[in-house]
Amino acid sequence: MNYRRDKRKKVRDRVQITLVAVAATMIIVLNATTAVWAKSDFMIKPGPAAQEELQEALILVEPGQTIELSAGIFVLTDGLSLDVDNVTIKGQGMKESILSFKGQKGGSEGLLVTSDQVVLRDFAVEDTKGDAIKSKGVDGIAMINLRTEWTGGPKPTNGSYGLYPVQSTNVFIYGCVAIGASDAGIYVGQSEQIIVRDSRGEFNVAGLEIENSFYADVFNNVMTRNTGGLLVFDLPNLPKQGGHNVRFFDNKSFDNDTENFAPEGNIVGIVPRGTGMIIMANENVEVFNNEFYGNDTMNIAVASYVDDFEDDNYQPTPKKIHIHHNVFGKSGLDPDSGEFGTIIRETLGIPVPDIVWDGVLPLMSYFFLGQDDTESLAIHDNTHLEGVRPFGNANLIMQVLLPFLHKPKFDMTDYQKSYPPLPPVEVTIRGNPAMALVD
């Protein structure tokens, strides 16, 4: 009996010791793990396994978790994708953590996000075969301090878009840099509730473009050395169209002088080298407190959709475009020799006026009624250089129909009026105003 009890006790003791030891080890391991993983749930390093590790993390990550990219160049062969809500992907900085897709074999973008409330920050995506970073159909996407770049300079073989949220709601782009896109460096399409601020676009065909979108604030951005700096477009035959309520303010769009290198067949192919801004077929666009200078063809163009279309719901004419308190410097001295640039040069002369309107209206309005006063351009309180015409109506309908009767118009008295300011846009991500992610 005694012996047995002893033995049992011994066993019990041993078990206890073992348990204590195991527990201690676990605590140590846990502590160590906590120390390493304190901030991130996944830490991915560059190396031959990076493609698989990163993609696996993007699949296994749970809502609320963070995937961290260490510093270095990640050599990737296939597009990455994230489909888990409320995840953060964080690098060590846009110059430090680089996802390089130079050898990409598949996937049309570098990183595709299809889940809501995702925050991407502090890394770069380089040399993708298609678009660099895309979000599709999400609510809440933050792109903070990211860089997208095609490192071989402007080339038609570069991918289309750098930062590319599409069909998304609550889009926040802050402190990003986009270089070398063969369409638009920063492109927000078919989306609503959008803020794009404090970002930079260089050597893209379009530096920054808002297309078929509603409620966007675009401010504090710098667009330079692109073909065109700022674009706001609306196109027909898309699931979301009728772009409206877009504000551009406190931006600088200057020295845009890169030849248009868009692959042929793309709508941005029309942008003349050296355009500060194009507003095409939108309603309620307010452009104020911006600086435009050094743009070879012109500072601002307001235009109708240029191609034929079959779409009864589409509105090709820009309406309620309000341009005020901008500062215009030397521009329009060397218009592009392409179709659009040539027509501007031929109809309006050099230097090209700071604000150019194509003068295109539905024919009924053009010949009989004129554009309704409550919809026509409003222009006031802008600063222009001496000797430069502030405004020119290229009157392109007449130029096409009856060229011998064509005359441009420089009188802007009809347009010296104002519209009420558009309200600021609010973007909510993870329940807070998006700026909470930065401050």
């Binding site: 993609q55 599409v166 898309l238």
Partner: protein, 349 residues
């Protein structure tokens, strides 16, 4: 305790190896690590289907680098049947599994000999919805192992004319699966098994697949008269429809999982689903939206009468990842598909 577990395990093993499908394992939250664990096949090499698996084919399958595809449907006995519906993907009940094995023969000179399995994909209908699990076959073809993160494989191949080549085969990761298998509500969904795609003679040539599924108890209701059931033509069987119909069937099978309203590529406004009737939306004179260099310097998706001026054909006839369509699942050009679409565009006016 340990002994009893072992006995239990052995019982299970004996039970499963008798060819019964492990429904509980299929319904579990976590996928099995080995394909054979599910008991979907009687042998671990997955050559002999277990009772309850029905082999089927589609009229207009997706082209994936000339891979052979072996498809089975399984519906658990107690789950009931899918209800016949004319347009949508059949709504198979909870517990159902679609099994698709991708395979290559050693040489296409003898396509039925020495067929090597590459990957078996399961689409499992769980209570929470459809889930996709790719299983990759090992070198000696004895087992397939779950691989969540996907990857690439080099597959040596000998083409029909005797030329040696290799295929840069992509095993999609779960997100890539979802990239195509998503419906308008962002839910995971099968793509192929619609009545009109299934309406054809069964693999063994004995009866129509719709009848076969009805007999198996996997499909109920719907017209008794087979001629009343819609049928997608086989794109490469000239007797099955006009050039126009066959081309649209091909585009439906190869493009519409993304290019249709509510699906991943609807941002382009190009809708290639069989039902789309608006010419501009199925590509006629439609300018690209965000194609970039994928446009190839061309200005519209389909220029009637001019295949070489049509972006649609240009992107099918490319293997550059920044140009080619579909984006995933192929590293070679589908020559027959390209020819079909070339003839189709040529025929339009």
């Amino acid at each position: 305790m340990r002994v009893s577990l072992l006995v239990f395990g052995m019982c299970c093993w004996v039970f499963w190896s008798a060819g019964a499908v492990n429904n509980n394992l299929l319904m579990a939250n976590k996928p099995a690590t080995k394909l054979s664990d599910y008991g979907l096949f009687e042998d671990s090499a997955a050559r002999i289907p277990s009772a309850g698996l029905v082999r089927y084919e589609l009229n207009n399958p997706l082209f994936t680098d000339y891979a052979q595809k072996i498809r089975y449907l399984y519906v658990p006995p107690a789950s009931g049947a899918a209800i016949y519906q004319e347009q949508a993907v059949l709504d198979f009940p909870v517990g159902s599994v679609l099994i698709k094995t991708f395979a290559y023969p050693k040489t296409f000179e003898e396509p039925t000999k020495d067929v090597r399995f590459i990957e078996t994909r399961l689409l499992v209908r769980k209570i929470s919805g459809w889930k996709a699990y790719p299983y990759i076959w090992n070198e000696d073809q004895s087992e397939a192992i779950l691989k969540v993160a996907g990857g690439r494989m080099q597959i040596p191949i000998i083409w029909r004319e005797g030329r040696a080549g290799k295929i840069d085969y992509l095993i999609p990761n779960m997100n890539q699966c979802k990239g195509c298998h998503t419906n308008g509500n962002k839910e995971f969904t099968p793509i192929g098994p619609k009545v009109r795609n299934l309406n054809r003679l069964s693999h063994d040539g004995t009866l129509n697949q719709i009848t076969m599924l009805q007999k198996a108890g996997y499909l109920r209701e719907g017209p008794n008269d087979l001629t009343k059931i819609p049928k997608t033509p086989d794109p490469f069987d000239v007797s099955s429809g006009s050039l126009f119909e066959r081309a649209r069937a091909y585009l439906d099978g190869n493009c519409a999982h993304c290019h249709s309203p509510g699906h991943p590529a609807d941002t382009s406004g190009l809708y290639l689903n069989y039902e789309e009737e608006r010419e501009i939306h199925w590509g006629v004179d439609k300018p690209p939206v965000a194609a970039g260099r994928g446009a190839g310097g061309l200005s519209v998706d389909i220029e009637p009468g001019s295949p070489e001026q049509s972006i649609l054909l240009y992107r099918m006839d490319s293997i550059d990842p920044g140009v080619m369509m579909p984006e995933l699942g192929r590293s070679t050009i589908h020559k027959e598909g390209v020819e079909l679409i070339r003839d189709f565009i040529q025929s339009l006016d």
